[in-house]
Symmetry: C2
Subunit: 359 residues, 2 copies
């Protein structure tokens, strides 16, 4: 049971205070809190305040540097590679996105590969930063290895998300933000809490057999790439996850594949790293580098309206545009606040007590 | 039954002669034949000579311009939008890729949106053009609407492929080339010829019910986005297909969604076009705009070797790297030639007779 409903702004203030306690400069703490809470606001509960104590534990383990000297280590007119100096991904990624946006102003598009970073929250937060500039935003990141490639029993990839945000005119933007697995880890966590079975095609056992046990990962099992099995195209999900890993880490000089350090502080990073930290890949494309922005946005509106008004299958009220469910959740949560998962609430209260903060 | 085995080079010469008969300039006919045959060489039989008479019929219907004046209609230092002048996509796309590569030399990455084009063959042909420049190649295209978005009964998207080709060192390159549907149309055509049922999750009926009938599309059914159903992430496949459509067509000024003109000449294009022709989106990223190329390639080799040596699930001999099956097929077909599908062979012989050519 939940003790009460939390307003988004008080959760954001709490996260801000926690980041300050970690030693983040004020501006970074504000940015990190904003990026973190973007997940709760949009209903991606697995990536918001639920992860706050995880970041703290990584900082306590000296695996997150609260005051990083983020620097460009390689660049061209339209690209850069940056070293995040083991900072919070929540801070490093928006700064990388700012560089991508500046590069795009000059060259039409800008791309930034990031190494030596940490978990960056939801990819959609970063891509949406491009929208106000009439740019298309791109974001990818690699992550702790929990996913087995097609035909493999080994966990070699993370849930490696891809987000692409595309501005429209009167219509809200198109915001794709997807894990390259059949189901993201967050969905599994919901089933774990409820002790419910997972659909076939989400997870496999340690031996690579189909499983419906949401706790299978603890026993050495793995998440399955988008597609679920070879017959239904899991090699495509594997290919997308691989592409994200390569662009985020092989291109930037971060750790890739099974060498990606785990998010949880109680697991040690591999002792034979192939790079530094985890990696991201961010991009910005100026719409008017291809076509006048107003013309593009009118056609985006037409695209969105046509798809949204498509005839639906039985029992479904509407064909959705990517970003619709998250916008609906945003409206609701900004108004009504959020009911935290009881385990998350307990965890946050303990964190508050430990750091001498109140919640 | 097949009359005989065909050598790849004789099929390429035949395609070249056909493109010359259509009125293509010699260099364009050579390029188109090379791009078309790349599909047969790599084992993507649905996109090679099997489509040759389709191109001819589109030319006869005056929907393909054999001698297009391809021109840049909009550009920035790192981007361009080109009008393909209703040319063969097989010619327009490689020329667009050449522009992307030149832009990348200057800016680090180069991106070209293409409108007023036609079917461009396999996406992988175009992305692999970047490899010899130590660049990462990107290619997407939209296509005739055969795919229903999640929760929709209407066909609003094509199989909209994504290809990304990434160079390695001693190892062969990573070449992802995937339709954003559970199964590409070519796989369905194989089942149609054999009169075999399709697995559940590939297609739906006109009413949006699951179907295993490979002929369902003729009855108004649709292909399903990668993921197969909502529970298994079909909204992700839908999102990827939508992104391809938007980048290829809304950004370039081509037709998008249900307005994309059909590949088959016996179906008329929509009478209310929202752009011109079909659209592509191509890109090239210079590896050394992010990291020294040799360093990158060493890590790519390490990445590939680690994944290729992963422990396999029961009954599977190896974890594959994207591009492996096509390379194996290439070795075989360049050596042994190709046994055409009897219907394709008959179609090509009729085409030869009609154009006064021999095969």
């Amino acid at each position: 049971m939940n003790t009460r409903i939390y307003r988004i702004d008080e959760l954001k203030t709490f996260a801000y205070s926690v980041f300050l306690k970690m030693g983040c400069p004020e501006a970074d703490a504000l940015l990190a809190a904003d990026a973190l809470l973007a997940a709760d606001v949009r209903g991606i509960d697995s990536h918001g305040v639920a992860r706050l104590s995880g970041y703290v534990r990584l900082w306590e383990a000296k695996r997150i540097n609260p005051a990083p000297a983020i620097r460009i280590v390689h660049e061209s007119p339209g690209t850069a590679t940056i070293d995040g100096d083991a900072g919070l991904g929540l801070v490093v990624a928006p700064k990388a996105m700012t560089i991508a946006i500046e590069k795009a102003k000059a060259c039409g598009t800008g791309w930034v590969a990031v190494r030596n970073s940490n978990h960056f929250g939801i990819a959609g937060y970063h891509t949406m930063l491009a929208l106000e500039h009439d740019m298309i935003g791109w974001a990818m990141t690699n992550a702790s290895p929990l996913v087995a490639p097609t035909f493999s029993t080994e966990r070699l990839l993370g849930t490696n998300p891809i987000s692409v945000a595309i501005p429209a005119g009167k219509q809200p933007p198109f915001v794709l933000d997807m894990a390259t697995t059949t189901a993201a880890n967050g969905k599994l966590e919901i089933l774990q809490r409820k002790n419910k079975e997972a659909p076939l095609g989400w997870i496999q056992t340690k031996e690579g057999k189909p499983s419906t046990n949401p706790h299978e990962l603890k026993a050495g099992g793995a998440l399955i790439p988008l597609g679920s099995d070879y017959e239904h195209g899991s090699h495509k999900g594997y290919g997308l996850g691989a592409m994200v890993d390569i662009l985020s880490a092989v291109l930037s000089g971060a750790n890739y594949g099974p060498w990606v350090p785990p998010f949880v502080a109680f697991l040690q990073p591999p002792t034979d790293p192939v790079g530094t930290g985890i990696g991201h890949f961010l991009g910005a494309m100026r719409v008017d580098a291809f076509r006048p922005a107003e013309e593009f946005k009118q056609h985006m509106d037409n695209w969105i309206e046509r798809f949204r008004s498509a005839k639906t299958t039985e029992g479904n009220l509407a064909v959705l545009i990517h970003g619709d469910p998250e916008r609906q959740m945003t409206d609701q949560r900004l108004k009504e606040g959020v009911e935290l998962n009881p385990a998350v609430e307990k965890d946050l209260k303990e964190l508050a007590a430990r750091l001498g903060l109140s919640l």
